[in-house]
Structure formats: C-alpha cells, structure tokens
Amino acid sequence: MNIRKLGLRILAAAFVAVPVWEASVTAAQADSIFIPQASYRTGKYSVNGTPFANGFDDYLAMLNVRDGGIEGVTIDTEECEFGYVTDKGVECYERFKSKKPVAYTPLSTGVTYKLVPKAAVDKIPVLSSGYGMSAAADGRWFPWVFNFPTSYWSQASAFVRYIGELEGGLDKLKGKKIGLIFLESGYGREPIPLLKKLAEKYGYEFKDYSVPGKEMEKQQAQWRKIVKWKPDYMLMWGWGNMNRVAIRRATEFGFPLNKFIGVWWSGADSDTKPLGKLAKGYRAGNWHAPDACCDVHKDILKHVYDKGNGHDKAMVGQVLYNRGVVTAMYITEAVRDAIKANGGKAVNGEQVRDAMEKMSIDAARLKGIGFEGFTSPIKVSCADHEGSGPVVIQEWDGEKWVIIKRDVKPLTDVVRPMLEAAAVTEGEKLGYKKRDNCS
C-alpha cells in the first residue's frame, strides 16, 4: 500500500468515525450536566483559591458518588486555572461556554463585572456568591447575575449594625471613627459608597486606606496613618496575603484586634493560622460554619476521601473550603429544582436561572441535604437576587475560628434603595431595560 492510499483510508475512516464519536458524546451529555469551575491554585492568591476549589470540587464529587449526581443526572465538571487574573478568568468562561454550563461561578469580582454583559447573551446564569457587583442584587435589571446570600453592601451595612450594637445602639455611632483598609481594586473599593452613605446617616467619621497589590506585604505606611487618625473601628476588604499582613501590622501598631473586622474574604484560616495567638481577637464576617461541623463533611470524607479521592483532607472544614462547598450546593440545589420543574433529566442554563429566581432553601431542606448548622436558610426572588441573608461574625481564638454572633441583619432600609439606584445606573450603561412583572 502506498502512502497516498494509506492517507486516503485514514481520512475516510475519520469521516466515518468523527460523527459517530460526536453522536456518542452528545448522547452522554444528555444524561449529564456541566458545572465548571474557574479556580486559582497558583499565583499570589493561591492560599485562598486552593481551599475554595477543593471544597467546590469535593462536593460535586461526593454528589456523584453518593447520589449518582443530582436527581440521577451525573455532574460533569472541569477546572480552569486563571491565577486570579481577570483576563484569564474571562478566557476560562469563553473556553467553557461551548460546553453549555448550567451555571458559572467566576470567583472574582473583576471577572464577574466582565461577564455581566456576556451571561445574558450566552444564557448562562452567573453566581457570584458573596462577591461581584452589588447592584446585581436587583434582579429586575440583571436577570442573569446572582449574588446571594448577601452582597458586599449588605455585608458592610451589617458590620455597621454590629458596631452599633457593640456601642449600645446605632445612635451611639455619632462622633465615632470607622476606617476601611482595602486592596486597591474594584473589589476593595466596592463598600466605600455604602460606608460613606451610612456615615452621613449615622454621623460617624469615615476614612479609607488603600493597599496596592504590590505593597500588600508591607502596609507599615497605611498603619502609621491609621493609628495617627485613631479610629474606633477598622474594617478590612482584603484578599490573599494582604489580610495576614494587615492583622500583623495592627498588632504591631497596637490597634485592638477585637475592633478590627474583615469582610468574609478576610477571615480564612490562612489569614490567621500563621500568626497563631498573635491574631487572637480578630473578627470577620461569614455566612457559614468555619469548621467541619456537619453531616455534609462526614459524607465528603466517607464518599470521597475514604475511597482515596479528594484533594487535601487537611483542608476539609476550613473557612474557604466550606465556602466552596456552600457555593457548589447553591448551584446543585438550583439544578435540582430545575430538573424537578422540567420533569426531564438534563437541564440548560435558562432553566437553572429560572430555578435560581425561585430558590427557597429553608431549615428543613438544609437538614435534608446535610447542611444543618452549616448556613442559614435563603430565599431568592425575581427582584431580589442577593437573598439578603444574615451575616455571622466569627472570631479567631488563637487556634481556630469560632462564631461569636449570628444573624446580624443588613441595614436594608439604606442598602436596598442604594442597590436599586446603582442597578439603574449599571443597567443603563449596558443598555438593559428593567423587567416588568418582577418582584
């Protein structure tokens, strides 16, 4: 056989084989749904990205082993490493979208902003749980973006309410000084308008201090300025190693850690464990358990780790591991609702989006899926995409995180009108129209 004939036969075989292979893949896909994950296990924020990615992936793996997926539909998953670089995060989304994911979690506020206009076109719901664009909480303007259980603005307002409680009432905030140290980025700047607005209402003085990404290992200048200003409380919107260094500097400069409260991205084990007892008293927001408290952890250990799978057993139950788990749970429960509502097996992004808008997970349902004591019930609606879930406050006791205050409610009377006004501004920028009959 000469080379030309051999080549022609290979080509002919390929012509026959490729459609057959594609058909088999499509058939397989009909019995499964695709939930990809953008992750960052490398780069300067990998200390945060790794436990989150592990939790997300382990939970999906556990569902596949324990339940055969969701309502009998297998979960296909894939990771895309983006190193917390916005452009790479968008590339990950572009790479995945041809595989028709039923939902997408960008794991970055910067990436979320870039995906807001794309998601509506591609019909892929974007879930930025506890991060992303605060204005997306108004579902009348942003049908494809969700940020439940709570937006940054709601969380910041919950911190102000908590500080008010510590001082004996919100009226006691008048004349107090509340500062914010933040990572110089869209994420870090996100709470500033809300904190300024609340300063006008409650009469506290507000100042912010930025930390550029390249300077986050230092921060001495920022803390010199802070201690000179003598704030009563400091808030932090930090990420990665900025958190640990900020706590370290606060102790060096004599700022009391029980008056230093971090956003829930500034309260991970990696932020405080290296400091140990030095970080005792530091507080942070959260919306779920900070430890391996619950039935879901037992199931993950039993069905994933005991079978020799899983990523890193030592991370199971860490704060950011749990966040990965709870984020995955929000998506899979929305998928479950969508499957039930549509009576079929596999569902698409549009059906999952519809399910997210009707999502209601009460205490009984949480117990049923192994999340009793893990997180609070949540209810999402067409207009309310953040669910306005309560915030919990956790404190580092020198060895571990413990929850010291539950159910701190956001100051909805201030936050909601601001969110709605911001939604109009952001929505109009994108040429969106407000949805009617959406409440």
Binding site: T42, Y209, S210, K214, E215, K218, A221, G254
Partner: protein, 331 residues
C-alpha cells in the same frame, strides 16, 4: 499658572513642613520605620550586587531565589526534620538551614552547567534574559514544590528571634526589623572582607572584569561562578527569612517587595555593596515620607511608584548610581 505653582509649593513643601513641625515625633517614627524597611530592601539588593560584581550577570531571579530558599528551609523544618526529630532546641532549624543551602548549591551547580557555561562571552543582555527565564522556572517549579507550605509561618522562634515592638526614646521599632539591620550590617562586613581580603574575592573581581583574561591567568571560571551563586543563595535565604518574619509568613507575593531592590540598585550602583545599603535606606525613608506627607495631594499608594521615579531621576543624571563605578571606555 501662579496658583498652580503656589499649590505645588504648599502641597509638597509648606504643608508637610508644617505637619513635621507640629508633630516631630510622628516624623521621626516614619523615618525610623523607613530605615528599617530600607535595610530589608538592601538585603535583597546585596544578592544582585554580589552576582553582578563577580560575574557581570544581572540576576533577575534573585527575589525568586529568596522565596525559593526560604520555602525550602520551611519545608525541611516543618515537613521533614521537625516531625522526625521533634527537637525544640533549635537543632532542626540549623539542619533546615543546611538543607536549604544544599538546595541552593545544587541550584548554583545547575545554573553554572546549564545556563552560564553555554553562554560564556555572550553579551550581558543575553545573560540577563537567561536569568529572566530562571526567574519564571523557579516560580513555576517552586509553586509545584512548595504550594502546600506557602503561607507557612517562618520558624523564627527556633532561631531565638523575638517578634514584637520595642521603644527607644518614645519611638517604636520592631524587633524583627532591628534584627534584620544587625544581620545586614554583619553581612556587609563579611562580604566586604571577602571581596577585598581573600583570594576568592580577588578572583571574583577579576572574573567580573573580564572572563577571558581571568581564564588566561588560571582562574577557574566555573568554580568561581558556583561560589558566587551559592553566596548569593545564602544572602537570598537571609533576606527571605527577614522579609518572612516581618510579614508573618513566606509566600510568592513577596516577590513584589523584593523587586523593589531594583531601584535600590540603580540608586546605589550595581557594583557597590555600601551603595546598595545606602540606596536601600534612601528609598525606604523616601517612599515612607512621600506616602505619609504627599498622599493628601497625590492620592494613596505613592509607595508603589516613588522608588521607581527616584531611580529614573538618578539614571538620568548619574547612570552609574550614587556609588557605582564610572565606566570610561576607549572609543
């Protein structure tokens, strides 16, 4: 126009001067803090100078070597030696330092064999580009090797190093910064003695001056390169330990701070050990004072660019740096 000039004068000179006059203690605290950070910059810059002085290679990978060496030390200490020996008397940390230095020796041997030897007599820019490649190799390889221990605390307690503040005349200092200053002083003295008084130092200076001439008088080029890369590795380890102790742990984000050593080098001169010490101090104090007193007019985050602007100005007027050797070439 006049208003603009008055605004500049007030913002950059008059108002800061008034602030300093009103609160001199705050000014002194900032100068002291800047000096301490400057010493840490100098420690990293020392590694650059060593290799440049001895081989004419500008080693862009020096900051990554600092992280690599320190994470290796932590790995030996936390994962290998401490679980095996379990001693709390400092033996594990000494063994971990030896283990880390062995890794740096292996790295030096590989760099000499695989990178420098094939590039002998190539233009400096080629060698510089090769070190950029080394930087990215160490970053990727390091992340693969040390990802699980990045962000681990530096076991400074095992070295007897205390952490926390102390006061001198009402001015607050950090113990770790003071330790870094003392270590830097000792290292400068040792390195100056080595370069000036020992045969190895003289050989290194000869190699830096002219590879071929050094070879022709019998200086073993490859041995000298390994020696200097090992010494630079030791400096990298010390600087990584000091930065890690200051930040609470060692992680790959430290590389951005370590890259601040570049403007320090430009300021102090690529070939001067005292130059980088003084350059580090100037930049440490300068950026701190600028951040504190100019931020109301220029906005926050001056620290992230001040050093580079200062270096640019020095480059324009004194390309060899404040203490570098002035090159006069025959045309």
């Amino acid at each position: 126009m006049l208003e603009f000039i008055i605004g500049l004068y007030e913002g950059f000179l008059a108002n800061p001067a008034v602030e300093i006059w009103q609160d001199p203690a705050y000014f002194i605290q900032n100068v002291a803090g800047g000096l301490m950070v400057g010493i840490l910059y100098s420690l990293v810059a020392l590694g650059y100078v060593l290799i440049y002085k001895a081989s004419g290679v500008f080693n862009f990978a020096q900051p990554m070597m600092a992280i690599f060496a320190t994470l290796a030390l932590i790995m030996f200490h936390d994962k290998v030696l401490f679980p095996a020996i379990g001693t709390g008397y400092g033996l594990t940390i000494v063994l971990a330092i030896i283990g880390s230095m062995v890794m740096m020796l292996i790295l030096a041997l590989l760099v000499e064999r695989l990178m420098l030897r094939p590039l002998v007599n190539q233009p400096e820019i080629i060698l510089f580009m090769a070190t950029i490649g080394l930087y990215y190799f160490l970053e990727g390889f390091g992340e693969t090797m040390f990802n699980k221990i990045a962000n681990s605390p530096v076991p400074m307690e095992s070295l007897g190093m205390e952490i926390g503040p102390f006061f001198v005349g009402g001015v607050m200092f950090q113990k770790v910064d003071a330790t870094a200053a003392a270590v830097a002083a000792v290292m400068v003295i040792l390195l100056a003695v080595m370069f000036q008084k020992t045969s190895v130092g003289r050989a290194l200076r000869a190699v830096a001056d002219d590879h071929q001439a050094a070879l022709s008088v019998g200086i073993p080029l490859s041995v000298m390169w390994v020696v200097v890369w090992v010494v630079a590795g030791a400096v990298a380890l010390v600087s990584g330990l000091m930065w890690g102790a200051s930040a609470g742990a060692v992680d790959f984000g430290m590389v951005f701070v370590a890259l601040k050593a570049l403007p320090v080098l430009i300021l102090g001169g690529f070939t001067s050990i005292p130059g980088v010490i003084i350059g580090g101090l100037i930049i440490g104090v300068g950026e701190r004072i600028a951040e504190i007193y100019w931020s109301p007019y220029l906005g926050d985050s001056i620290e992230s660019w001040f050093a580079y602007i200062l270096a640019l100005i020095v480059l324009i007027y004194r390309p060899e740096g404040l203490f570098g050797e002035k090159l006069i070439e025959r045309i």
